[in-house]
């Protein structure tokens, strides 16, 4: 994922620097606040660790190896701002010492791997781990999933940076000047590599390191898990469900995820296969004389929709489309909420006898 010089236009690199430099400034201020000099050697060590983690090739089932970045792991152990600095320094080593990643593209690499990755990872970790005990399986799984999500978010950011190049920078006769692949090609390519290979590696590493630290060296986690480290059993004796996942939160989260992901639909070229109205079918191309009888009979079977064609039939087509989008989001949210309540009711029924016995 280390973008070399030459793939991105100088304009893109400049934009990435514009985002990366202030973030680095905030990170150094956040990290060096409070204790003045202690953080310097600590961050230096973690930069070195991050560099070495990128060297650790992990075997994956098909016989090849992949390396992790470790940004999420450092974010969990030391906080996301420390991860920003540690990974940035490691990336600088790689760019200057080993030619891995470019100098102009350094800003973009920092943006992907040192900013997007630790923040996405730590957000996922906090949501998934909730208030579970330090040594609970849930926390280890949360760390692993956070690593997986973090590196995939970084890969998506890189894919977007590559994908905008051919559209924005090309000569008059269509020759791309920088990375030649469009969104429709970069996003699947990066997604495949990172969902299948690098993501699991990062996830396994993050989970394994977290499990080890929680078990063998919880002091290393004190900075970010202070309350949990001081009383390792406190989490266990607490009621297991403190209620981070109320049905309402799950419903809102689900809808938010859908809203974030829905622009992916814009990438798909052409119409949706198999969703044409019978009248729109190109019968000649399909070698048919007429619309098949069954299709003709049942196509109008259900006509009682409230917002037919996503409200496009009315006088205010755009307004209707937006209205149907909002109604759809609300209905899906309500459905997820109802399911959450239902699950809660069943769980409650199952849990009640046990707690009654304990009492």
């Amino acid at each position: 994922m280390h973008i070399p010089d030459g793939y991105l236009s100088p304009q893109t690199c400049a934009a990435a620097y514009v985002l990366a430099v202030p973030t680095l400034a905030i990170a150094s201020r956040r990290v060096s606040r409070g204790v003045t000099t202690r953080q310097v050697p600590l961050l230096a060590m973690f930069a070195a660790v991050s560099f070495l983690v990128m060297m650790f090739n992990i075997p994956i089932p098909d016989g090849t190896t992949a390396h992790a970045v470790g940004a999420v792991m450092i974010a969990i152990a030391l906080g996301p701002w420390a991860a920003v600095i540690a990974v940035s320094v490691a990336l600088l080593f790689q760019a200057l010492l080993f030619g891995d990643g470019g100098v102009l593209a350094y800003g973009a690499n920092v943006l992907n791997m040192a900013i997007v990755m630790p923040f996405v990872g730590i957000a996922a970790y906090r949501v998934l781990a909730g208030r579970s005990a330090l040594r609970s399986t849930r926390r280890v799984v949360a760390a692993g999933v956070a690593g997986f999500l973090g590196i995939n978010a970084a890969a998506l950011a890189a894919a977007v940076e590559f994908g905008i190049q051919p559209a924005l920078f090309h000569t008059a006769d269509g020759m791309p000047l920088y990375a030649p692949y469009s969104f429709a090609q970069t996003i699947p390519a990066m997604a495949l590599a990172h969902l299948v290979v690098a993501g699991p590696v990062e996830g396994i590493l993050t989970g394994a390191v977290f499990a080890y630290l929680a078990k063998a060296n919880p002091e290393a986690l004190r900075g970010t898990h202070g309350d949990l480290v001081t009383s390792p059993d406190a989490g266990a004796s607490r009621p297991a469900r403190v209620g981070w996942s109320t049905p309402a939160k799950v419903a809102v989260g689900f809808v938010a995820a859908l809203v974030v992901l829905s622009p992916l639909g814009l990438l798909a070229p052409g119409g949706a296969f198999g969703e044409d109205a019978p009248a729109d079918l190109d019968l000649g191309a399909l070698g048919l004389q007429a619309i098949p009888a069954g299709m003709a009979r049942y196509t109008g079977f259900w006509r009682h929709t409230v917002l037919a064609d996503y409200g496009a039939g009315g006088a205010h087509a755009t307004l209707g489309y937006w209205l149907s989008a909002l109604v759809g989001i609300a209905v899906i949210g309500a459905a997820v909420y109802a399911m959450g309540r239902l699950v809660g009711v069943f769980r409650g029924r199952r849990a009640t006898p046990a707690s009654a016995v304990q009492d």
Partner: protein, 312 residues
């Protein structure tokens, strides 16, 4: 040890694993058809890091390029990188690459590794990555080499696709060469000093300098961990769950150790009067030659872009 020469007299007392012939316990050894495990490869990579770093440290003392002020070299590097990034014609980059190689040769850079480090990496990654973009499926345009037809329309390599691929491969080669030209002729500590002089915040420079130094300490720690594990391993290691668990524990140990080390180093630094400021041992002076280099680089950048405007 003469394995198998004398039959063990007390075979019944000897555990079976001790009697079996074993691979020598040497990092990076590949015995027979056994594939080197990823741990061994990691060790090998570590040794490579050492080798290259030592190499970079040694090479900083001789030649005209080596004597230049690192600040001048960094400014020149950025100017030339931007110029290379703005070029639209592969031909300009061919000329540019030739010029870079000529400068490296004149500056006393070891030519073989200078050329090899670029052309071993660029074809393996960049050329493979941009190869599909030469097809009309990705880059539509004027078809030069027709390969197949799709709904009656010929498909194949397009002029635009081939030119774009050449442009990217050459641009990556030029960029990597320029960075190598600077890093191969500048000792790491002087390069860092230049970063500080050019406005990179002091805390960053200090962190980078320390991280570089402790990289080797921590690399030594990893090597020890791997060696200790290898020494305790009596049967061929499983390349699966066990290895993954070990990597988790190794990185976790590394984190713990570095935490501890950072604490001790901080105390040592404070004891020696550290109050947040980092001093470089040698202070470099900007001389006429350095000004000349910056001006020459800027002129070269302008020439590159001018030539490119004519050629494109």
């Amino acid at each position: 040890m003469t394995r198998g020469a004398a039959p063990p007299r007390s075979r019944a007392d000897t555990p079976a694993w001790l009697v079996q012939p074993q691979a020598p316990l040497r990092p990076g050894s590949r015995v027979g058809r056994r594939r080197a495990s990823f741990l061994e490869r990691t060790l090998g990579d570590g040794a490579e890091v050492f080798r290259r770093a030592m190499y970079a440290e040694i090479d900083g003392s001789r030649g005209a390029l080596q004597r230049l002020d690192p600040r001048a070299k960094l400014v020149a590097l950025v100017a030339l990188l931007v110029a290379v990034a703005l070029v639209h014609s592969p031909l300009t980059l061919v000329v540019g690459y030739a010029a870079i190689v000529a400068v490296a040769w004149a500056g006393g850079v070891p030519m073989r590794s200078f050329v090899r480090r670029v052309w071993l990496v660029v074809p393996a990654f960049t050329a493979v990555a941009v190869a599909p973009a030469t097809l009309s499926v990705v880059t539509p345009g004027q078809i030069v080499v027709p390969l197949w037809t799709w709904h009656g329309a010929p498909q194949g390599l397009t002029r635009q696709g081939l030119l774009a691929a050449a442009l990217i491969v050459l641009r990556v080669a030029c960029s990597v060469s320029l960075v190598l030209l600077v890093t191969l002729t500048t000792p790491w500590n002087r390069l860092l000093g230049a970063l500080g002089a050019l406005g990179v915040p002091r805390i960053f420079v200090t962190i980078i300098a320390m991280a570089y130094r402790y990289l080797f300490v921590l690399l030594g720690n990893i090597t020890d961990l791997l060696m200790a594990r290898k020494a305790r391993t009596v049967r061929p290691p499983d390349h699966g769950a066990g290895d993954r668990r070990f990597v988790g524990a190794a990185v976790g140990t590394l984190l713990g150790k570095s935490h501890h080390l950072a604490e001790e180093v901080h105390q040592a630094m404070v004891a020696r009067g550290y109050a947040g400021r980092h001093y470089a041992l040698e202070r470099s002076r900007f001389v006429a030659a350095d000004v000349l280099v910056v001006l020459a680089a800027l002129a070269a950048a302008v020439v590159i872009l001018g030539v490119d405007r004519v050629l494109r």
